[in-house]
Symmetry: D2
Subunit: 320 residues, 4 copies
C-alpha cells in the first residue's frame, strides 16, 4: 500500500559485530572520527558528527564479524503503530523491548532473511559535550577535522537468500520504495535498492550466493564530498586498511564509492551521491539487466570478484 | 496540522521575468547549460539536466525583472485534493487552470504576499532527445559538461511584506516545515526557511524592507559539488556576469553559495549543501537572533549590503 | 653533466597523428575545450587555455595514429646552443629547420628510438582573440568553461625499444633528471620518468614489448583539480569515448589519472598531481622493483592489461 | 644578471616568533598536522609532511610575534658560492654560521629591510620515524589525515619599508624573478612577487605603511586542493581561530586563499594555485595598477582593511 511510504523516516543505527574489538574501535574512532558516546558490556556506542540521534553504530565484540540489529526511526508515534501492526500482520514481529541507550520503547522484528531489526519513534537527540560543541548551532556535533570525517550512516546493504521476498517485505510492510534493481536473465532479482526518504537509497538487498541468511554485504557512511573519498583512500593506504575497490562511480545509483574492510572483517563503504536526490513522488523503479550489469561500473571498471563473494560473517562452503 | 507535511513533494518550476530576454536566455542556456525544451509566445521553457519534469524554468520576456508563477508538485492526487481544499479554506484559491506545456490540471493560488503559485500532481516527465539521451538510464538528461552545469532547481527565496504571515500560510496550508528562521530583537521574523522534503529548505521568505509585495530575492540552482561553484565563479568572471557575493558558506543552513545577477537583473544563487539533509521527522526549528546574524557568514565574511536591498522587480522608493 | 639540467625549460608542443581527423578534432576542441589557432595543410594547431606559446597540439591527418614531432623549449638562446652542440656530439642531430607557425629557428633531432624532436628558444607567445581574452591579465587565454577544460600539456610518454638507452640520451644530452624509474628483476629499466622543471615529470619512456620504435604510449594534459578528472570521466561516458582506466592514483609519481583513447586511437591521459613538485635540487631517483610494481596502483587497483599492450601506431605482431 | 636565476632552488624553512608558544605549537601540530621533529631551547622544529628537508618551521618563544630567519636552499655548492659572493659584494653579508639542526654550513645575511636570511646547500633530508613512515616511498612523510594537512611551506610575504629596494636585492643578488607586481599611481611599487622556481611565487614584499622594518605580512602553506582550504575554514571555525579573509581567489597570481591569525598573532595563509606554474623562461612581469587593484579579488570581494594594516610584530604608531 502506497501510504506506508514515509512511515519509516530513515535508518537510525546499526550494530556491527567484530572479532577484533579494539582494532575495530580504532578504525571507527581514529580513522572515521566517530566519537564514543557510551559503553555497555561488550559494546561501544559511536556517533558520527552529523547524526542527530544518540548513536550511529553500536560496535559489539563477538566471535565473528557480521551485523546485529538495524534501527529504523518511524516518522511519528502513529506511523510507528501502523508499521508495528503491519509487521505483526506479516508474522515477523518479535515484540517490544528496551532499545538501550538513547532509545525509548522499541519494537523488535526480523526481515524474511532473519536480520534483526528495530523500529521506534522515541529517540534521545545527541547532546554535544563541552568539548564537542559545534561552532554553528544547526549542527549535531563539532566537525572533527580528522581522518575520513564520516558524516552519517548512509545505508545498509544486507545479503539475503531471496532478494524478492525480502524486498516485498520492505516495500509492503515497511513502506520502502524500490528505486533501482537488477533482474537476472532467469527473472530473479539479484539486488534491490530501497529508499524511505529523498535519498536515492537507504536499505539494499543483494543475493547471498552461499544460501546463508542474516549476513551483511556492507554498511555505508556518507562523506561531504567526493574529494573526501579520495582523501579517505590515502588515509586507508597509510593505515594499512585493505581497500577492496574504488574510488569509482557506480552505474547503479551513480554513487561515488570506496570499499574497505574494517579490522573486524566487515565491508565498509564511503559514499557520496553529490546532489542526487529522488524528489519524484512517482519515481519508476530503474531495472538493470544482466547484460547491463556486466558492463561494470559507470566509468567502465569491472566489478571486483570479491564484491560477489565477501560477506560477513564468513561462511564455510561445502567443497563443490 | 502536522499531517500536511509531505503533501507537497517538492518545488516544480519557477517562472522568471526578464526585460532582456535574449541575454537572459543566453545566461540560462549557455552559462548554466539548461536545454530549451519549448517556446510559447514570449516564453521559453528551460530544463536542467537532473530535473525529471518537463521544465525547470519558464523564462518570460517582460517589461521588468521579477518572478511569475511558482509550481509545487503534490505527492499524489489525494494530497493535491487535500491541499486545494486547505487553500480554498484559507481563502487564497484562484482556481483550476491549464498549466501549460508539461503540466496537466493545475490549481492556481497566491501566498499572502500575492506571489502566484500553482499546485498540481499530473506531470509529463522529461524525455531526452536523441542527442541529449544520457549514458546512464537513471538520469533525466545528458550531463551537459558545459558552464555551470546547473543540476536542478534547488529553492526559491521570496521577499514578503510580512514574513510571519506568509510563513504561517506555508506551514499550515501547504505543509512546509520551518527548519531555520531569524527573529529580530523586536520579536518579528525577518527570514524563514521551509522544507517540503529531506532537503534542508525549498522555499524561503525574507522581509521586504520596501513594503512592496510579490517580489523575488533569488532563485537557486543546485550544483554537484562545491568545486562546481568555484568553477562557476570563474565562468561568470570570464563572461562579465556580476558576482554579488561568494563563494562562501552561510551560517544559516550551512549552504556553500555564490550569488550573481542574471542579465535580466534577477539574483541567481548556486548552492551546494554537501551531504546535508534533514532526516529527523521531529526537527526543531533553529532560530537565529539579530546578534547572531550580525556575525556574518559561517567563515566570518560580513553580509554584503546589496543582499538586503536588491530585489526584483526594482521598486521606486519615496525620497526619505 | 649535471649542468645540462634546466637548459630545456619545458615541453612545448606535440604533434599527434590521426586517421580520423574530424573526430579527433572534435575530441580536442569540443571535449577538451582547446581552441583552434591555425590550419596548415592536413594539420590543425590547437591551444590549451593556460599554455603561453602558440599551440599545444599539432593535429595531423595521417594514415595511422601515432606521434609526430615533440617540441622542447630551451631556457635561453645560450641553452639552446649548448643543447644543439651536445645533440650533434651525440650524433643525433638532423639540422635547423623552419618550425612552422608560432616557432622561430628550430633544431631537429631524434632520440635513440627515432622519435622526431625539436628544440628551440624563439617562440611566439599566444595572443588571445577579442573573444578569447581572459578577464585576468595573468592568464594566457580565457577559461573555456566547457568539457574537460584541458589546462596545458603536462607530459609525453613514449614507448622505446631500449628504455635505458633513451634515458641516457635524455639525461646526458638533454639534461633531464630521472625522478622515478622501474627496474625489472633482470636489471633492465622498463620505465623512466624525467623532469626538466619542478614538475615531477615531463617526459617518460616505457619499454615497447613489440620491439618497434618511435611509438607513443600517451600524451597527458593537466587539469586544475582532481574533481575535473572525475567530471571528465562523466563527459567521456556521455560522449562515447573509450575510458581505458581510472580515475585512480598512480603509486609512481602519485598522479591522479584518467586514460582514454581519442577517436584516432591515441591514448590520452588527464592528470593532476595536486600540489606535488620536485623542489629538491639533489632529488634521488626513486626506483620501483617488479614486486612493488605488481602491487598495482596507489589504492590497490590492478593495472589494466591494455596499459601494457596498447601503443600507437598499432603494429602487426608475428603470430607467436 | 639573468644567470643568477635558479641559484636559489627554493625556500627552505622560516622561523616564527610567538608570545604564546604553547598555543602556537598546538596550532601548527594539531590544526596544521605538522610533526615536531626537535626541540632546542625556546624553539621547536616542525615538519610538514611533503617537505623533504629537516624542518619547515622553527617556532620560537619570543616576547612578540614576528619572523626570524628565512632559509633559502641553493641549487648546488657552486650556486651557493656564487650567491655568497654576490651578497658580500652587495654589502649585505653577515657570515658563515652553524645553521642548527638539519643544516650544514650556512651563510647569514640580511635583505635591505633587515630581515635575517640564511643561504645553504648542505641539508639533512627528513627521515620518517617508524610511526610516520609513508606507504609510498616517493613521499617524505606519512600523510597525516588530520586538520589542514599543511603540505609544505609555499611562500613568505615580508613587509618592507621600500619594496623596490628589497626587490632589486632579490632580483639582482639572489636571482629571484618578479612574476607580478603592483605599481601605484605615483610610480612606486607597493608589492612584488618573486619566484626562484616554477612556482608562480616564493617570496613577496609588500610595503610597510608604518615605516618599520623587518616585519612579516604572512607565511603561507600549500594544501593539496581547494577543497582542503574550504575544509580548513571549517576547522578554524570549530577551533576558534580568527579567520581574517577568504576562502576566495586572488586576482594577482590567481591563488585560492584563506588567511587566519595563529594564536601568536602571525598571519598564516593556506593557498592553492591549482595546476598553475610559470614554465616560460622569459616570463614578462605582470604589472597591476592602483585602479586594477581597487577592483578587489578575482571574484569581486573587496580586500579587507586589516590586510593592509596587520603585520607582525605589531608596532606602536604615533598618534596622527
Amino acid at each position: 500500500m502506497a501510504s506506508a511510504f514515509r512511515d519509516v523516516a530513515h535508518l537510525g543505527f546499526v550494530e556491527l559485530y567484530t572479532p577484533d574489538f579494539e582494532k575495530s574501535l580504532w578504525f571507527f574512532t581514529e580513522l572515521l572520527a566517530m566519537r564514543e558516546v557510551g559503553r555497555d558490556g561488550d559494546s561501544a556506542y559511536l556517533h558520527a558528527w552529523d547524526d542527530y540521534e544518540h548513536h550511529t553504530i553500536k560496535l559489539t565484540a563477538h566471535e565473528t564479524s557480521g551485523v546485529g540489529r538495524l534501527g529504523l526511526r518511524a516518522a511519528s508515534e502513529e506511523a510507528l503503530q501502523r508499521r508495528v501492526a503491519a509487521i505483526e500482520a506479516a508474522g515477523r514481529g518479535v515484540g517490544w523491548h528496551d532499545g538501550g541507550p538513547g532509545m525509548g520503547k522499541t519494537y523488535a522484528f526480523t526481515d524474511p532473511d532473519g536480520h534483526p531489526m528495530d523500529i521506534y519513534f522515541d529517540s534521545e537527540w545527541h547532546v554535544p559535550t563541552e568539548e564537542s560543541r559545534p561552532a554553528l548551532k544547526n549542527q549535531a556535533d563539532r566537525f572533527p577535522g580528522r581522518g575520513v570525517n564520516a558524516r552519517r550512516l548512509d545505508h545498509v546493504n544486507f545479503l539475503g537468500k531471496d532478494v524478492a521476498e525480502n524486498g516485498r517485505f520492505v516495500e509492503e510492510v515497511l513502506g520502502g520504495k524500490p528505486t533501482e534493481q537488477i533482474r537476472l536473465d532467469n527473472g530473479m532479482l539479484s539486488g534491490q535498492w530501497f529508499t524511505f526518504s529523498n535519498k536515492s537509497y537507504d536499505l539494499v538487498y543483494s543475493g547471498d550466493w552461499t544460501g546463508s541468511s542474516g549476513r551483511l554485504h556492507h554498511v555505508a557512511f556518507a562523506t561531504d564530498t567526493r574529494e573526501d573519498i579520495l582523501k579517505a583512500a590515502d588515509i586507508f593506504l597509510e593505515n594499512g586498511i585493505h581497500i577492496e575497490t574504488g574510488p569509482h562511480k557506480h552505474a547503479i545509483q551513480q554513487t561515488f564509492f570506496l570499499y574497505v574492510y574494517e579490522p573486524g572483517g566487515n565491508r565498509i563503504e564511503f559514499c557520496n551521491a553529490g546532489a542526487r536526490l529522488i524528489l519524484a513522488p512517482d519515481w519508476k523503479t530503474i531495472e538493470w539487466s544482466e547484460a547491463e550489469r556486466a558492463k561494470g561500473q559507470a566509468w567502465g571498471m569491472k566489478t571486483i570478484s570479491t564484491f560477489h563473494t565477501h560477506g560477513t560473517p564468513p561462511v564455510e562452503l561445502p567443497a563443490s
